[in-house]
Amino acid sequence: MGAQQETDCAVSTTGLRKSFSIGRKRVEAVCGVNLCVGRGEIFGFLGPNGAGKTTTLRMLATLLQIDEGEAIVAGVDVRRRPGDVRRRIGYVGQLGGADLPATGRENLMLQGRLYGASKAETSRRADELIELLALGDFADRSARTYSGGQRRRLEVALGIMHRPDVLFLDEPTTGLDPQNRANLWDQLRALRSTGTTIFLTTHNLEEADALADRVAIIDHGTVVAEGTPLELKRQIGGGMFVVYTGLPPSEMESLRTALAGLEPISEARVDGAAVRLRTDNGRAAMSAIARVLESRNVPLAALSLSEASLGDVFLQQTGRPLRDAGQNITEISR
């Protein structure tokens, strides 16, 4: 890896590996991850639970020892100088990390001062973040009394208290309602505009698509695809037909099989009350689909043509839909 590339990456990893012993078994959690997160971008690490997202993030944030490989964060080698990495990064873990008996402001003050800022400076910065993340109404109440969204905002504020170069967020919007999630997205975009690089993990397709400038899809500890959401979706090419029928769930599978057998259809899967079909030839596919439905006497409720989603990318790369990927195999085959 050349010097040029290192300066372009806020986070770069080469052959990153980590394994754990669970009982007598050795589990490879991360198997050779190579990444380059550009400066000032929001980078989404997308994958099902257990794919190795959090493990990778924790290694980059100095919380887990790296077994093998190299990681450079904010220009500093994580294995050699973890202390210097800590000064340059912010980290908001899945658990959050707000100190619940303390008030929001006390949380911020302690955090700022542990990074060595003076009392006056910390106090100014706390006011700034209370304003930026709209914590004003409750900043002087115990964090125990906060709602989920309020607490998450405080935790993000804690993560950026010392103006880190890189902010790591582990599943930042899990458990938030749609409105709070959208608010947090806006706040993260605002943070990016100040030059902070944001590296977040998510298992939510919509989040990766809407928020991330670039996405890496990880499965079983390996990055299977990387690019902007648009690039990734274009890569799989063609279009998606979504066929909504009035069929009971029990008959969906047989319809899927019939449609999957059509020549212009390259892939078919059941998605709730719909069958999603991938095709490279929309026109041929359309009439073929219509013929199948007619011959089987299936009522068509709606038919839509959509561009591929990141879920389709995941399916194409791993052979299974993202929402099932965290579960066991028997679940998927049913």
């Binding site: 202390g83 800590r86 990064i89 908001v92 959050g96 990390g97 100190d99 542990l114």
Partner: protein, 253 residues
């Protein structure tokens, strides 16, 4: 950012946390006062008898209660550590440049401070009922008791990190607490015990503390018993802090 400032900030956080949980304060005071109210009167009949010769019953009993408080004051630390692992606070603090030893000391110093205040209260309450503490000896006694608290506080915090579950921590801590207390001679002086029990007591660090506490409350500061107690507890406290810092470093990266 220097280590002293970090420690002071983290100690302050822990003290604020304590002050905001009045339940903890009452719970800390309840058991020693109950011992004084409900157990000490039982000893009255033994006054002047074996083990209590020449002194008031409370002169034997109260110093032991202070040592018992010291042990208990530190033993609770692990509960909070487990809660802080669950809420992610410890993880967040370890991603900051804060020293792991400072993190540990925040808890240990809080427990030490929170031993001294109720211990003084118990001593003062016991005086009108016939406890005759020597002031200088009592000061040294509190120092010795603080050492015991530091030892159990660091040990309990580290155990909390290692076990990660309240249930397993409770099993280990209560499993240790009862035999250590029984062997220390807090309830009744071990001079009443058969030889094998007296021998066994020498493996209990609390035994040395209890022996020294009685000597100290009686006013003899420069004595072999006191010296041995400081050596044993000082050594074990250093060991406990060293081990706990290692556990913090390893488990919290």
């Amino acid at each position: 950012m220097n280590f002293a400032t970090q420690t002071q900030l983290l100690f302050r956080r822990k003290m604020l946390e304590l002050i905001r949980q009045p339940v903890w304060i009452f719970a800390g005071l309840a058991s020693p006062l109950l011992y004084l109210a409900l157990f000490a009167p039982l000893l009255g009949a033994l006054a002047g008898g074996p083990g209590f010769a020449g002194s008031s019953v409370l002169d034997v009993f109260v110093p032991g209660v202070v040592i018992l408080m010291a042990f208990g004051a530190g033993m609770g630390a692990g509960w909070i550590t487990v809660a802080e692992l669950d809420s992610g606070v410890l993880e967040r603090l370890t991603v900051t440049p804060a020293s792991r030893f400072a993190l540990l000391l925040g808890t240990v110093l809080r427990d030490m401070a929170w031993l001294v205040i109720p211990a003084l209260l118990v001593i003062v309450v016991a005086v009108p009922f016939g406890f005759h503490p020597n002031p200088a000896g009592t000061a040294v006694l509190l120092a010795l008791a603080s050492l015991l608290t530091a030892m159990t506080s660091a040990g309990s915090s580290a155990l909390g990190i290692k076990l990660r579950q309240i249930g397993s921590l409770a099993a280990v801590v209560t499993g240790l607490q009862l035999p250590l207390m029984l062997l220390s001679g807090i309830l009744l002086p071990l001079s009443l015990a058969p030889t094998w029990l007296q021998v066994l007591a020498h493996f209990d660090p609390m035994y040395y503390a209890v022996e020294a506490s009685r000597t100290l409350a009686g006013g003899s500061i420069v004595s072999g018993t006191v010296g041995v107690a400081f050596l044993v507890l000082g050594g074990l406290t250093v060991l406990s802090l060293w081990w706990a810092t290692g556990v913090y470093r390893k488990a919290l990266a």
